[in-house]
């Protein structure tokens, strides 16, 4: 049998001076904007708060202790709850985005090219609007005088004359509309490249619609899906604007906590430690990207 079709390994190029020069600007960029801030974050996390909220540059593991839940009065589950709440919010938001993005991107990809552009614009434009503005927009839409709230009142879900916010529905409406573009755009890139004939082949080979999705569509769109999940999940973990505005600031999320440390609490070192913790969580979630369909090229190589 001929083996000429086997992929030949790409030859490794020897690194030379010109190679270093070529990556130089990028390296400089990464050093200034990524490496140095990250290192100072670590340094800050290992410092502590002075009496008047100033940063005291003495090495201390106090913040890491606080990070795992030990406070002034011993261990408390508060931080753990906050983390869990943020995780839950981010997970549900991501899940909802996936559920909406699949039909949406399939619909988009099956349109004529000119109409596809229109749909892409529809998805992208909200993403250009500031999240605070958008959340206040939802407040208006969900206000007591408008049809959504009236309908809910008519059906008996809320007392007459009240608004649909603050509440879970409002929060998830805000969250999903904020993060949908982050899910839909990378997924669209995968769905658009999906070979429709392969889906037909699966149908032809006795697969019912569920099996077609599970055994063909999903593995073929994993690259876009995993990028979408990361791009939704990670910022959703740190989100506090939407939950504050549409959720009535009743519950604390990681994002609120970090924001507090840098403002009201004036405890930058603990804020830094919290951010660091969130970053580590993010990096762990990047490991998820290893799930990649072997046959499909990764459209977003990291």
């Amino acid at each position: 049998m001929d083996s000429s079709a086997l992929p030949t390994p790409i030859k490794k190029r020897s690194t030379s001076l010109s190679g270093y020069l070529a990556v130089g600007p990028g390296l400089l960029w990464l050093t200034i904007l990524l490496a140095i801030p990250c290192l100072s974050l670590v340094a800050m996390a290992l410092a502590s708060r002075g009496q008047y909220g100033e940063v005291v540059w003495s090495f201390s593991l106090e913040n890491l202790r606080r990070l795992i839940g030990f406070g002034l009065f011993g261990w408390s589950p508060d931080l753990f709850y906050i983390l869990l709440r943020s995780l839950l919010l981010a997970t549900i938001t991501t899940l909802l985005c996936v559920l909406i993005a699949y039909p949406l991107t399939f619909h988009m990809a099956s349109r004529r090219p000119s109409i596809r552009v229109f749909w892409l614009i529809l998805v992208i434009v909200p993403f250009w609007t500031n999240v605070v503005v958008r959340s206040y927009g939802w407040l208006l839409i969900l206000g007591p005088q408008l049809p959504p709230a009236r309908l809910a009142a008519f059906l008996g879900f809320i007392p007459p004359g009240s608004a649909l916010y603050p509440g879970t529905l409002a929060v998830y409406l805000g969250m999903v509309t904020t993060f949908l573009p982050f899910m839909a755009l990378p997924l669209y890139a995968s769905v658009e490249r999906l070979d429709r004939e392969i889906l037909e082949a699966a149908r032809d080979l006795y697969a019912n619609p569920f099996l077609v999705f599970w055994r063909v569509t999903l593995p073929q769109t994993t690259p876009g899906l995993s990028v979408g999940i990361i791009m939704t999940f990670v910022p959703a973990m740190a989100m506090f604007v939407v939950t504050d505005i549409l959720g009535g600031a009743k519950y604390m999320f990681i994002g609120n906590l970090i924001q507090q440390q840098f403002s009201q609490a004036r405890d930058w070192p603990f804020g830094a430690a919290l951010s660091l913790g969130l970053m580590i969580l993010t990096l762990l979630s990047l490991g998820f990207r290893r799930l990649k369909a072997p046959g499909q090229k990764d459209p977003f190589p990291l």
Partner: protein
């Protein structure tokens, strides 16, 4: 099998009252230029499209509205449509797994299929790691392992190198001989349709034009389209004058029944007999001037005036351009085509 099928996409009427009967175990070929609706017809049989009207029967059962995944029909797609994330083995096992066949049977059937199509060494490779010919065999194996009643092949050779095609065509015929599955193949290649030997149907603009054995369709084309599409016959415009057809070549006789007063006659280039010199006068003997003579090795191709008429003859003849030759056009081979000419 397929009765009175109509199908439109938007304003485009792709199939018009198409009917087709294929007997069990046959190798049937649908032949037509691209855009004639043959692939759509195949997709309707597969269940990947629904007809606007008409019915589809498989083994006497009406399957018109049965979804693709519940039809005992499998397809070899033009691009093969192998699952890129599955290896050869998993690709072939897909259909059996989807039908929840027990793993032991799956393994047995897949192994036998791998062997039949000489794919055993490639079972762990992914589609991106095998050649076009190998992909085609995987696509065939993936369809045939399900033991379908009908195997549909959508231009299965079009993605192959020309030198591979003849070999693969022979292999396909051999495979068909071994199993009793009905094969329906779509192609735009006349040679391929002829080679496969079974019945063929010529389609044009969503309509069936002619059906029959390759010999029938080739030697007795029904109309101008079929005559030209199958290796371009000579078409002569003729006016009827009693039993004589007046053409640019001169008066000719045909054995066919002629229904028009003015219409077209067709004669295959290789059925025109070139006479060395004027023999005894007889019917259907005409004279023409050589415009071009092409030596093909096994044959000589002449382009003659008036006409231009093409003649394929033995390389024994060596007429030069400008020379006048005599042609005998056998009345039995002169086909009267349907349709009155304007």
């Amino acid at each position: 099998m397929v009765a009175q099928i109509n199908k439109s996409f938007g304003n485009h009427h792709v199939l018009r009252d198409v009917s087709l009967a294929v007997s069990k175990g046959e190798f049937f070929t649908l032949l037509g230029p691209s855009g004639c609706g043959k692939t759509t017809l195949l997709r309707l049989i597969a269940g990947l499209e629904l007809p606007d009207s008409g019915s589809i029967f498989l083994g006497g059962q009406d399957v018109t509205t049965v979804p693709a995944n519940k039809r005992q029909v499998n397809t070899v797609f033009q691009s093969y449509a192998l699952f890129p994330h599955l290896n050869v083995l998993e690709n072939i096992a897909f259909g059996l797994k989807a039908r929840k066949v027990d793993p032991v049977t799956i393994k047995h059937k897949v192994d036998r299929m791998l062997e039949t199509l000489r794919l055993s060494d490639l079972s762990k490779r992914f589609p991106s790691q095998i050649s076009g010919g190998q992909k085609q065999r995987v696509a065939l194996a993936r369809a045939l392992v399900n033991e379908p009643n009908v195997l549909l092949l959508d231009e299965p050779m079009s993605a192959l190198d020309p030198h591979l095609r003849t070999q693969v065509q022979a292999e396909l015929l051999e495979l068909h001989r071994q199993i009793d599955t009905t094969f329906i193949m779509v192609t735009h290649d006349q040679g391929e349709a002829m080679f496969m030997g079974g019945h063929l149907a010529v389609m044009r603009d969503g309509q069936m034009v002619q059906m029959g054995t390759p010999r029938e369709v080739y030697s007795r084309p029904k109309n101008k389209f079929v005559a030209e599409f199958l290796w371009g016959a000579n078409i002569l415009l003729a006016t009827r004058d009693g039993d004589r057809m007046m053409t640019t070549l001169g008066p000719l006789k045909t054995d066919d029944q002629v229904s028009w007063s003015q219409g077209h006659l067709a004669i295959r280039p290789e059925l025109i007999v070139l006479e060395d010199e004027l023999a005894r006068p007889k019917d259907n003997l005409v004279r023409a001037k050589v415009i071009q003579a092409i030596y093909r090795g096994a044959s000589v191709e002449l382009l003659l005036d008036p006409g231009p008429v093409k003649v394929v003859t033995s390389p024994r003849f060596n007429p030069q351009p400008g020379e006048t030759v005599s042609l005998f056009i056998p009345s039995a081979d002169l086909v009267a085509l349907e349709g009155q000419a304007a």
